[in-house]
């Protein structure tokens, strides 16, 4: 079964708006990562947040992690049409072999 589950599964917003995607997981993790996939392409790593961190920023990306609720959120501010892609969270469970489990993703469409 999937360790991470993203919510919503699809999101459509206007350019310039913020986009928020959520990820929930089931077991204790070492870290949580967010990846982006353009249609028909490989995944690109966006950001990693460790289990002892609560918030992390990278450019227009802001990731939060709440280990008590076993959830994370990815916020993309001032979205652009080029942000249109699928976004996946991936969790590395404690004791894992650097093996991460991916969720089913959130498909984001940014309308120009």
């Amino acid at each position: 079964s999937q360790q991470g589950e993203e919510d919503p599964q699809a999101l459509s917003i206007q350019e310039g708006e913020n986009a928020t995607m959520n990820c929930s997981y089931k077991t204790s993790i070492n870290n949580l990562q967010w990846y982006r996939q353009n249609s028909g392409r490989g995944l690109v790593h966006l950001i990693l947040i460790r289990s002892n961190e609560r918030e992390k920023h990278s450019g227009r990306l802001r990731v939060t992690l709440d280990t008590s609720k076993k959830s994370s959120s990815l916020l993309i501010t001032a979205s652009r049409a080029a942000d249109t892609a699928s976004y996946f969270c991936a969790t590395e469970v404690s004791g894992g072999y650097q093996k991460v489990t991916f969720g089913i993703g959130t498909k984001l469409q940014v309308i120009p």
Binding site: Q2, N30, N31, Q33, Y35, G40, R41, G42, L43, V44, H45, L48, F88, A90, E92, Y97, Q98, K99, V100, T101, F102, G103, I104, G105
Partner: protein, 111 residues
């Protein structure tokens, strides 16, 4: 800099035929290597991962197998393809810093 190659990019194979997908990594040594499958509109399913030459762990029992004959080469194989093997196959590598770096993928259609 590190690069990861996968080939072929697309493949159409009949049911019952064999399969060989290759992945190679350049610019790093002793990487962890991974094979994933992504069904249309779905998330990634980890198929195999390898932490070293000849060391393969299988995540899902199926008619696929993987081999790592060289440090930076990872091969996904099947003796007889099934219709359910269709999908987008992604190879990835990681060092000891957790981020995974993905190849461009192979789109396999079994007919």
């Amino acid at each position: 800099s590190q690069t990861i190659h996968q080939w072929p990019a697309t493949l159409v194979q009949p049911v019952g035929s064999p399969l060989s997908l290759e992945c190679t990594v350049e610019g790093t040594s002793n990487p962890n290597l991974y094979w994933y499958r992504q069904a249309a509109g779905r998330g990634l399913q980890l198929l195999f991962y390898s932490v070293g030459i000849g060391q393969i762990s299988s995540e899902v029992p199926q008619n696929l197998s993987a081999s790592r004959p060289q440090d930076r080469q990872f091969i996904l194989s099947s003796k007889k393809l099934l219709l359910s093997d269709s999908g987008f196959y992604l190879c990835a590598w990681s060092d000891r810093h957790y981020e995974q770096y993905f190849g461009p993928g192979t789109r396999l259609t079994v007919t």
